[in-house]
């Protein structure tokens, strides 16, 4: 089940909101503490990338972030309506040295390279509507999750 779905106007200030929401939802879902920093950076990069692309190509359209807590673990899906991702950056260092200069926006290809370098399970799908970046993390078995009993009594 999608536990949280967030639609954000494409403004840099909302990237932080995306980080807050996704990290809070992941903690709730039981993601182990050691993975929270990785998750925070990954969602930050994916959301900055999408926000940057919309700001240029689809300023009136919100960026979507969906957090799902399912059989395959925790998944975080960031959907943008921007042009397809460029070819995978094979040398992030070079790319940063080239582009890291005076633009205020994130470099979308560098952001994606950081996501794929950081997270083991990442899928990037480009369809006619835009790009969907899906990141997945394993969750502990339900019974071992913090607050499992509370969750049961909530149903």
């Amino acid at each position: 089940m999608a536990v949280v779905e967030l639609l954000l106007a494409p403004l840099p200030s909302h990237v932080r909101t995306a980080r807050l929401v996704v990290v809070a939802a992941a903690r709730r879902a039981g993601l182990e503490d050691g993975l929270l920093d990785e998750l925070r950076l990954a969602i930050g990069e994916a959301a900055s990338r999408a926000v940057g692309l919309h700001a240029r190509h689809a300023p009136g359209t919100p960026v979507s972030v969906v957090v799902t807590d399912g059989a395959r673990g925790l998944s975080v899906e960031v959907t943008d309506q921007g042009p397809a991702a460029g070819p995978a950056v094979d040398d992030v260092t070079e790319e940063l040295l080239d582009s890291g200069s005076d633009q205020d926006d994130v470099d979308p290809d560098v952001a994606l390279a950081v996501v794929t370098g950081l997270v083991d399970d990442v899928e990037v799908e480009h369809g006619p509507g835009g790009t969907v970046v899906t990141m997945r993390w394993p969750l502990p078995a339900r019974s071992e999750r913090p607050g499992a009993t509370t969750a049961a009594s909530e149903a």
Partner: protein
């Protein structure tokens, strides 16, 4: 949560160093402030910078881009940009992106100020 910036001058064996103390979150929203600060310093002739990242709580690739931009600027004047960082989660992003090979990273401001090229 916000980005905080302050600067001071320290003198080392190689001459004066401008120490920029950064705190909070460096992301696509706050990075422009840091870029402006670095540009201002270089414009006013301060080419040897030490950026103290010990108070940084979050850093993303936009922030890295700004630091790289600063490095290019000081190098254009034969200057230097040294980082101070011992936080594992911040070091990790320098490592992932290969920037540990690009920036001299020190474990204290004293060490960075004392270092020479």
């Amino acid at each position: 949560m916000d980005l905080s910036l302050s600067t001071r001058t320290e003198s080392g064996p190689g001459g004066d160093r401008t120490v920029v103390v950064v705190g909070g979150e460096i992301d696509v929203y706050t990075a422009p402030k840091l870029r402006e600060q670095l540009i201002d310093l270089v414009s006013s002739g301060q080419y040897h910078l030490v950026v103290d990242m010990e108070g940084v709580e979050f850093l993303d690739s936009t922030g890295l881009g700004v630091l790289v931009g600063g490095l290019k600027r000081v190098r254009a004047h034969e200057g230097s940009l040294r980082l101070v960082c011992t936080q594992e989660r911040i070091l990790k992003i320098f490592r992932i992106t290969g920037l540990t090979k690009v920036f001299p990273i020190h474990s204290s401001v004293e060490e960075a100020v004392a270092a020479s090229d």
